[in-house]
């Protein structure tokens, strides 16, 4: 899959095209940061790298290979992570060569979607509420606010969310779906 089919539209400011690109690109960007997971808050780096992809897409030149913008983003993410490590530890970190960077986009999987929907329908009430609330918050609302909205204590919300995820993962495994396996977890 070549996510550069969206490059021209993204460069022209089409946020819908960027959303389609992000859906395929984000897992690869996050996976590329696995070596830094103990040193930097990967979530921050992933979001900043995706934001840079949006900002710099108009200037990204195709080089004849697939997934040009994704490769740019993976490189940007690794460089941001290295900068953060250097900043915090004042140590020399070797930048990766392009050959070392994983750039496999994730394709939509309708079977996984259906399996998750079926598993979600079986979730106990409170884990289900916690999961739905976090999904609906779309990463823009703090857990404290979500907990307040649901009338739950913060720790209760977080525990319920963890239970919901565990329930879904186990339900999917019983169906032969191993989430994250393709990303070598």
């Amino acid at each position: 899959m070549d996510l550069d089919v969206h490059l021209e539209a993204i460069g022209a400011g089409d946020t819908q095209a960027f959303a389609r690109w992000v859906a395929g690109a984000e897992p690869a960007v996050r996976a590329s940061l696995a070596p830094f997971a103990a040193q930097v808050d990967v979530e921050v780096v992933v979001q900043e790298a995706l934001l840079r992809a949006w900002q710099l897409a108009p200037r990204v030149q195709r080089d004849g290979k697939a997934n040009c913008l994704l490769r740019f983003s993976v490189r940007a993410a690794r460089n941001l992570a290295i900068d953060e490590v250097r900043h915090r530890r004042r140590e020399v970190v070797r930048p990766p060569s392009d050959e070392e960077l994983p750039v496999a986009p994730v394709e939509p999987d309708p079977l996984l979607r259906r399996a998750i929907e079926e598993c979600r329908a079986k979730l106990p009430k409170n884990p289900s509420r916690a999961l739905l609330a976090r999904v609906e918050a779309q990463g823009t609302e703090s857990d404290s606010k979500i907990a307040e909205r649901l009338g739950m204590k913060l720790n209760t919300l977080l525990k319920n969310f963890g239970r919901a995820r565990q329930f879904l993962l186990e339900c999917l495994e019983r169906r032969g779906v191993h989430v994250g396996r393709e990303l070598s977890l």
Partner: protein, 76 residues
Amino acid sequence: MKPEERQVLIERVVSAHRALDPLERLKSEPAFHDLDEAGRREAYELAVKTRLLEAALDEAGLSSTGRAVLARITRR
């Protein structure tokens, strides 16, 4: 640290929500710095799985990370 407290810290790191500093840059989640290296790796692995689940539950295939980034660019 009790296992229950550790789990709460991990769940906070797993969230895609990050506060912004005055220069509109994302700040790292404070709970990340309260975890040891094993806890941070565990949070990373859970975040990978969580984002894949979220994306599969979303009509446009976006995780909460993707949604948070889209929210940032559309409100600029």
